[in-house]
């Protein structure tokens, strides 16, 4: 077990002392020898690497030429030893106010060894793109995981992924004019233009007809549009159009809020995994600010994360049951879940969106008398869930619907960088809680748990992975209560360093949540990039759907536990940096009438 004291040894923020974004003082060779694979990569791409540095503990950055981006990404992704390495996501930044260039930065979660926290790391491949020609060779033509990422930067920042196989619009609405990029810093927020709608959809395969699933469909909880090209009941091909629920969160966070306010915004990215986002964001900022939060705060965070996982898995299994018409399973799953909600409400003050975090710790302490209560709830849930699973998994009709449906093979899962239980049900051994150094913000390194992995890759496997995880979470909660240290629950954080970057990450119940934060001036955030797990899982859904029934579609779509609001956080409403205009109610109404149908 690694204690926090051990952490200090690893926490050397030499780079902080260096010049901004540069690492001349730091010894490159020392950095490269810290982790396996770095040196190898450096040797392989020597001519193209401009800089290399350690951003923070376990996060390494190479500045490389844009020409070799695909090769570099694939080098890591297809590394023969690091099998479970995956492309986390990529960040596009408008750094023209700083250095006159755009930045495109894919980063990968490199798993040197499963559950070996000190060995694994994130690697960032930063490529500068000139302001007049922000193009780069597309990674997506070789790696489907990059499909959406590149379409997103194309939409929002106007980058040009050369050779992208599917360069349609992903995020912006159809009637948004060409050549206007909301996430660029010079975009004026008052400018909300409209143009003739231009709809691009896949061509219909011969002999099929169209079943539009969504945006408003009973089987899909949030707006998303799956175009199923069907032959009778059988799905032949699928097209996806999403991003109906943009809320301008990234842009808002970058614009007007201080780092502590962004935290609350981050929590509201998602209705049910809000705390994961909150912790990820807090972790990123804490890493930036180079503070170590108290042990008790780490424990409380972990406790709440796990409680959230418990109730979300129960919620999910309820929804899965509901989607196949097994309403009794649905009702019971949610009934079992209810005590957790009550518990969390008592611990934090809210059933969801706990508002518990603050950068540097947590806001409320877990009082001792409630520990007993937590243990009671955990015990009860364990018993009831066991009983529930006994019944549900013996319901023949339910199993018939889940078994052998929506199979996602390991290879496809890896190609799309699928995350979380979806990946683990396809045989991928990944779990950010064990793989990466989450110990700065949470206490996963001090508890014992297993990571269930199934190889079948169908919906039933996803159910089983989640249910196994649920029991592991209950065990984690018990350990945490047992080991809960005393002490403070937060440390104050002063001003943040300017133009520093770091990554925060947790394993949400859907997969790895990643928050990339780059600070600006005056305790503001210059670039905040959120990547929810659904963002990686959803592009793989069409692959899962093909060949199955229309009847299975809601279940298969739900089987990745999609969260569209997590995925679709980006929007174009900009607020001029440093200057805040608060809309009054009347103005807001006026605007919403004016742009009815635009947002």
């Amino acid at each position: 077990m690694v204690t926090t004291k051990d952490l200090e040894a690893h926490f050397e923020f030499e780079c902080r002392a260096c010049e901004k974004g540069q690492c001349r003082k730091a010894d490159v060779n020392v950095i490269l020898s810290e982790r396996k694979g770095l040196k190898e990569f450096y040797e392989a791409f020597k001519e193209h690497i401009r800089e290399c540095k350690r951003m923070t503990y376990g996060q390494y950055q190479f500045v490389i030429d844009r020409e070799v981006l695909p090769e570099a990404v694939l080098w890591w992704h297809n590394h023969p030893e690091f099998k479970e390495t995956h492309l986390s996501t990529a960040v596009g930044t408008d750094e023209r106010p700083l250095n006159g260039q755009f930045v495109y930065m894919p980063f990968l979660n490199v798993q040197v060894e499963f559950a070996n926290e000190p060995e694994n790391y994130y690697v960032f491949l930063r490529a500068y793109l000139p302001a007049d020609d922000p193009s780069f060779p597309s990674v997506a033509q070789k790696l489907p995981a990059a499909l959406w990422i590149e379409r997103e930067v194309k939409d929002l920042l106007g980058f040009n992924p050369v050779g992208h196989p599917d360069p349609r619009r992903l995020i912006l609405p159809e009637d948004w004019p060409e050549g206007l990029y909301p996430l660029r810093k010079d975009m004026d927020y008052r400018h909300s233009p409209m143009a003739e709608p231009k709809v691009e959809f896949k061509e219909k395969p011969e002999g099929t007809t169209l079943v539009p699933m969504g945006p408003a469909h009973m089987g899909i909880e949030e707006p998303a549009h799956f175009r199923l090209f069907v032959k009778g009941e059988t799905i032949v091909d699928v097209d996806y159009r999403g991003f109906y629920s943009h809320r301008g969160i990234e842009k808002t966070g970058e614009g007007r809020l201080t780092y502590n306010q962004v935290l609350f915004l981050a929590e509201r990215i998602c209705g049910i995994c809000g705390y994961q986002h909150s912790v990820s964001y807090a972790m990123a900022v804490e890493r930036l600010a180079d503070v170590e939060i108290p042990d008790r705060a780490r424990y409380i965070r972990t406790l709440l994360l796990e409680l959230e996982r418990i109730h979300n898995h129960l919620l999910w299994v309820g929804i899965a049951a509901h989607l196949v018409g097994y309403d009794t399973g649905f009702m019971h799953a949610w009934r079992i879940r209810e005590p957790v909600m009550w518990l969390v409400e008592r611990l934090t003050g809210n059933r969801k969106q706990y508002g518990m975090n603050i950068v540097g710790g947590v806001r409320r302490d877990i009082l001792d008398y409630r520990k007993e209560e937590i243990l009671k709830v955990v015990k009860q849930i364990r018993e009831e869930t066991k009983k529930f699973l006994d019944i549900a998994l013996n319901t023949n009709t339910f199993i018939k619907r889940a078994e052998g449906v929506g199979i996602l093979p390991y290879k496809v899962a890896k190609a799309y960088s699928v995350l979380g239980p979806t990946a683990r049900a396809s045989g991928r051994r990944i779990d950010t809680r064990k793989d990466q150094a989450v110990k700065t913000a949470t206490a996963y390194n001090e508890v014992d748990f297993k990571v269930p992995v199934y190889k079948e890759g169908d919906v039933l496997a996803r159910v089983l992975v989640r249910m196994d995880e649920l029991f592991e979470s209950l065990w984690i909660v018990e350990q945490l209560i047992d080991q809960m240290p005393g002490g403070d629950i937060m440390v104050p954080i002063g001003d943040l360093p300017e133009y520093e970057e770091a990554l925060g990450f947790t394993e949400a119940h859907r997969g790895e949540v990643v928050h990339y934060v780059m600070t600006g001036e005056k305790n503001k955030v210059y670039r905040w990039k959120v990547r929810a797990p659904t963002y990686n899982n959803l592009p793989a859904v069409p692959e899962m759907l093909k060949g199955y029934h229309v009847a299975d579609a809601p279940l298969i779509i739900a089987s990745i536990d999609p969260c569209y609001s997590c995925t679709e956080r980006v929007q174009f409403v900009d607020i001029e940096t440093g200057k805040v205009k608060v809309l009054t109610e009347a103005e807001f109404n006026e605007l919403s009438i004016k742009y009815k149908g635009v947002f």
Binding site: P197, T208, T209, P212, M213, P215, H225, G232
Partner: protein, 662 residues
């Protein structure tokens, strides 16, 4: 005899073909066919009221008895509707030309059918039968499209092998028994047959059975049906499906049952053939997406019902007692279904024709949304669809129901299973007609912005569609004519039943009507119009927002996929056999050609002919004649090649007929 007027009208209709204008020709000849068919109906009425008629028609011995009039009724009804329909419909083939070919062939077709069911001589029966085959063959390749010509050739050769040859052999057998062509009346043959040894009976019956099974498309001779009906102009398909198949039924009853006699095992054989056919035919229809092929497979299936009913009759009537009553009920139900099938199947073909007339296609995958513009056609198709699916109170329900009743009461596992299959297939029929109606008339598509079909076509459809409801509600109107076998059915104007089982359609309709209207008035709907709910999609091609015909029952079709594969295997075997027969024909023909024509040509398949730009194998067969006619064509400019083929065919047919007759 009124039949003479009818035949006269048909002949006149054929002569109308002398008019050179295409449209005038087809209209006038169709109209004459319409008049002829009306005369047939008149004849039916006459016989029904005055009893059987015997006489001579242009020297042909004719006897119109109570069995004949059932079939005359069928031919008359279908003829009336189809001819009326054809007046407008045949305009579609103006680019093909050859109006007079149609005029001759169509009228000959109707006349020959009328003759088949009325003549009282085996010899003339066979002759008119041949005339019927030949004229229908000409009508099938009328559109002159490549695929249609293929189909027509297949049809012709099948008929040649499985129809003509057995019939001629049977004729020979009959001749050998009776000993004179003049005395070849059915009665004489029956008398002779009564004393004949069993094997003679078996040979005679077997040969006829093959011929009639082929003509009515029974398993395993059903392979020609689908393509033929698809290829023929729709009004002709309607006559073929509605009337021509029933003529084979007439043969079954008049020649086999009445002459050869029946037994339990023979009846069982017929019933089993019927049961298998109805299953296979309808299940094949289920997966069809071409409206005409779908209807064609259904006519196979429905003929299976009829044969099942007749088979029950043939099996049980000899047993006597209660079972004889059940058997008579079965036979009655079979005949009733024959009439009903003629009505609704012809109506369905006509509505498919109306759709084809307006949209130019019969592909159910393509069609859609016509209910909005072609309201009257849609309603006629709905009536006929409900009738064929056996939904009360339409006529199909009654006859099917009586078949089930007779099957269940038969005390025979096989026949009861046949009835079970019939009930099951009733569901399959419903399925494919839900598809047939839904895909063509349901929904709203921008693709087809068409008008309603012309009045003549609507009249044609509605004569029949109206009858489905009329007979369904008042079965008493036709049971008198149909009850050839004196089945103890309990029928009056408002109910039909057998023993304790009965159904009163009038009461049913009244209750249903009162309830529906009453409930409508109670819950009088108010509504706003809106476009269909598409889940709020951004942009969607409404024409594609549907399930196409192919996808309707795909899961069910997968489930019975092994059945289809087996059927397809049989089909390919059959096609192979036909292919070799064609080759044999061509081989013979090439030698024939070699004798007449110096250049030796190696022709082995139809494709070879196509390469040589010879469209019809008959050109090969009748090459010398064609050469002669080619010369004649040079002499008489302006007449086309196709015309000569037809003349050649008719002449050859006549010669062959005369040669055999003499």
């Amino acid at each position: 005899m009124i039949l003479e007027y009818a035949i006269g009208a048909f002949i006149l209709g054929g002569l109308v073909g002398l008019i050179r204008d295409y449209k005038a020709t087809v209209k006038a000849s169709s109209f004459m066919a319409f008049l002829g068919s009306l005369a047939l109906l008149w004849q039916v009425y006459y016989v029904y009221t005055n009893g059987p008629v015997t006489g001579s028609l242009f020297g042909i011995p004719v006897r119109i008895d109570n069995l004949s009039i059932v079939f005359l009724l069928i031919i008359g009804l279908v003829g009336v509707a189809s001819s009326l329909f054809a007046i407008n419909y045949m305009e579609m083939f103006e680019n093909v030309g050859k109006g007079w070919v149609y005029a001759v062939a169509y009228n000959t077709f109707l006349a020959s059918m009328a003759l088949v069911v009325t003549v009282d001589s085996m010899e003339y029966f066979v002759m008119s039968w041949e005339l019927m085959t030949l004229s229908s063959f000409i009508l099938v390749f009328f559109s002159e499209k490549l695929r249609d010509v293929d189909a027509s050739v297949k049809y012709y050769i099948t008929m040649h092998f499985l129809d003509t040859i057995p019939l001629f052999l049977a004729l020979g057998t009959a001749y050998s028994l009776v000993g004179s062509f003049d005395k070849l009346t059915f009665e004489n043959i029956a008398n002779a047959m009564a004393n004949a040894p069993f094997h003679t009976k078996a040979v005679f019956g077997g040969l006829l059975m093959i011929a009639f099974m082929t003509k009515s498309g029974m398993i395993p001779f059903q392979f020609w049906v689908a393509e033929t009906y698809r290829a023929a102009p729709t009004s002709v398909s309607a006559v073929m499906a509605g009337a021509m198949e029933k003529v084979a039924l007439y043969g079954l009853i008049a020649l086999i049952w009445r002459i050869v006699g029946t037994s339990y095992s023979l009846g069982l054989f017929v019933a089993v053939i019927g049961a298998i056919t109805l299953t296979v035919g309808t299940l094949y229809a289920l997966r069809e997406t071409n409206a005409k092929r779908l209807l064609a497979y259904h006519s196979i299936g429905q003929m299976g019902y009829i044969w099942l009913g007749i088979g029950i009759g043939m099996a049980l009537i000899p047993k006597g007692g209660f079972l004889a009553a059940v058997g008579a009920l079965g036979a009655f139900a079979g005949l009733f279904h024959a009439l009903n099938h003629a009505i609704f199947k012809a109506s369905l073909f006509l509505s498919a024709g109306a759709v084809e007339y307006r949209t130019g296609t019969v592909d159910l995958d393509e069609l859609g949304g016509l209910g909005k513009t072609m309201k009257v056609t849609a309603l006629a198709a709905l009536f006929a669809s409900l009738a064929i699916s056996g939904v009360p109170p339409f006529n199909g329900f009654l006859s099917k129901w009586l078949i089930y009743v007779s099957g269940y009461y038969s005390h025979s596992y096989v026949l009861a299973l046949g009835a079970v299959l019939a009930a099951f297939i009733s569901a399959a029929t419903l399925a494919s007609f839900v598809k047939f109606y839904g895909t063509q008339f349901g929904g709203k598509m921008k693709r087809y912005d068409v008008e309603e079909a012309p009045a003549g076509m609507l009249a044609g459809q509605w004569i029949l569609a109206g009858l489905t409801l009329l007979i369904g509600v008042f079965p008493g109107t036709v049971t008198g004519i149909l009850n050839v076998f004196n089945a103890p059915i309990d029928t009056n104007l408002y109910k039909i039943g057998f023993k304790s089982v009965f159904f009163s359609p009038v009461l049913f309709v009244i209750v249903l009507g009162i309830l529906t209207f009453g409930l409508y008035l109670v819950f009088k709907p108010e509504y706003k119009e809106a476009k269909p709910w598409d889940c709020g999609s951004t942009q969607i091609d409404e024409d594609e927002y549907r399930i196409n015909a192919e996808g309707y029952y795909i899961k069910y079709e997968e489930k019975i996929g092994s059945f289809y594969r087996l059927g397809d295997w049989f089909y390919s075997v059959g096609a192979g056999i036909i292919h070799y027969i064609v080759r044999a024909y061509l081989w013979m023909a090439s030698y024939f050609t070699k004798i007449v024509d110096t250049p030796y040509t190696k022709v082995e398949s139809l494709d070879d002919l196509r390469e040589r730009e010879i469209m019809h194998i008959d050109e090969e067969v009748f090459k010398p004649l064609i050469r002669f006619l080619n010369i004649a064509r040079d002499v008489l400019p302006g007449i086309r090649l196709g015309t000569f083929i037809v003349i050649a065919l008719i002449v050859v047919g006549a010669i062959v007929g005369l040669l055999i007759a003499m």
